[in-house]
Assembly symmetry: C2
Homo-oligomer: 222 residues x 2
């Protein structure tokens, strides 16, 4: 994996020490997060959609209802900006000004393109396996009718940057002497015990892929 | 608190049973989440920014560097779309098509306006107290120079809707007999033990507002 080019839109004029154009950094963030936010222009005005996604190779795949106005607009080649942000902590500084958050984020700019044929099916299965690795094989795959009801679009991971902040607050030198507690409160995503669908007709233990999904995140008692 | 009007942009054509226009629902989501995503049009193309925010009364306040091109554009009255999404769970259905996520989200459409004067200072303190309630009083407030280096914009919570999905998967009737584990894996945001800034010159216990912040979220062992 290599370096992504720096463009007008992905160059960071401020806090450029937080920027990364390494594909490995970008892919790691894209593969950890569970939702993205897609911005595009609809009838001249901005729209933002939170949605699941899957990275497959060097593209981000999104899917939505073929009946929805927004996905139809995207499938027609809309310019989009996709953001993925993992929140890692609250950064408590000695001054209001230097309060911050620790995070890892990626933004991808590009033109969405409609995905059809075999790649469309592969992307749809990819969504499930991206979310819950190992699950796609155990469920009913999408029917032809369901594929027709779904729009899949892809955005190339080409004009793209990652931004990462970590570590303690960075205060003004004069403020370090203030008698203020400063530091980080780490934020961690966890899962609690799975809730079986009450409509399951037979008792089935939660499969290994549920445990594996939970194993990637913290365990939380509710 | 009342009902927000339904507009062309906030009417939900699909899955409208998930929609809410109750101010109380909208405010509760805005007051729980820690970041928003702001979309706007910059030089004809979409941009999306993840950022902290504060709701004060019926406005969302954002802040950024006065040196940044995006916040300058917003302060000039840009149309924006602001999304706030809380992810509550993975929804595992019997078919690929019905996999979903449980979430609570809000989208606000509107025109950003620059905030100046006393309200600007109040918003800046609001950001800290919104993030870590009770903290603003114990830190050094923003100086005049810091206020000048910061742009604060507000977006009215007027053209706005909430969208909520909860509960088990909704499968096709024919699929309920499949021998597939189905249900929800709840996602929960937690904190782990605070990490004091190694540059604290004296030993100070983490203050009550740190414990209060953590009390609102799950506790996670790392």
């Amino acid at each position: 994996m290599g370096k992504l080019p720096v463009t007008e839109r992905t160059s960071m004029r401020r806090l450029s020490e937080r920027a990364s154009y390494d594909e490995s950094v970008v892919h790691a963030i894209l593969d950890e997060a569970l939702i993205c936010h897609v911005a595009f222009v609809f009838e001249g005005r901005p729209v933002v959609l939170p949605t699941g996604y899957a990275r497959i190779d060097d593209r981000i795949y999104l899917h939505g209802s073929a009946g929805g106005r927004f996905f139809r607009a995207m499938a027609n080649g809309a310019e989009v900006a996709v953001d993925v942000t993992l929140l890692d902590g609250m950064v408590l500084a000695r001054s209001a000004f230097h309060h911050s958050m620790n995070y890892r984020s990626v933004v991808v700019f590009g033109r969405a393109e409609a995905v059809e044929g075999e790649m469309k099916r592969r992307a749809i299965e990819g969504f499930v396996d991206r979310m819950i690795p190992g699950r796609a094989a155990s469920i009913r795959p999408a029917s032809e009718a369901e594929l027709r009801k779904t729009i899949v679009v892809a955005i190339p991971i080409a004009e793209c940057s990652a931004k990462v902040r970590s570590g303690p607050p960075v205060d003004d030198e004069d403020d370090y002497g203030l008698p203020v507690w400063a530091g980080e409160i780490p934020l961690i995503l966890g899962t609690s015990d799975p809730v079986p669908d009450p409509r399951m007709k037979v008792t089935i233990d939660a499969p290994d892929h549920v445990a594996s999904f939970r194993g990637r995140l913290a365990r939380v008692e509710r």
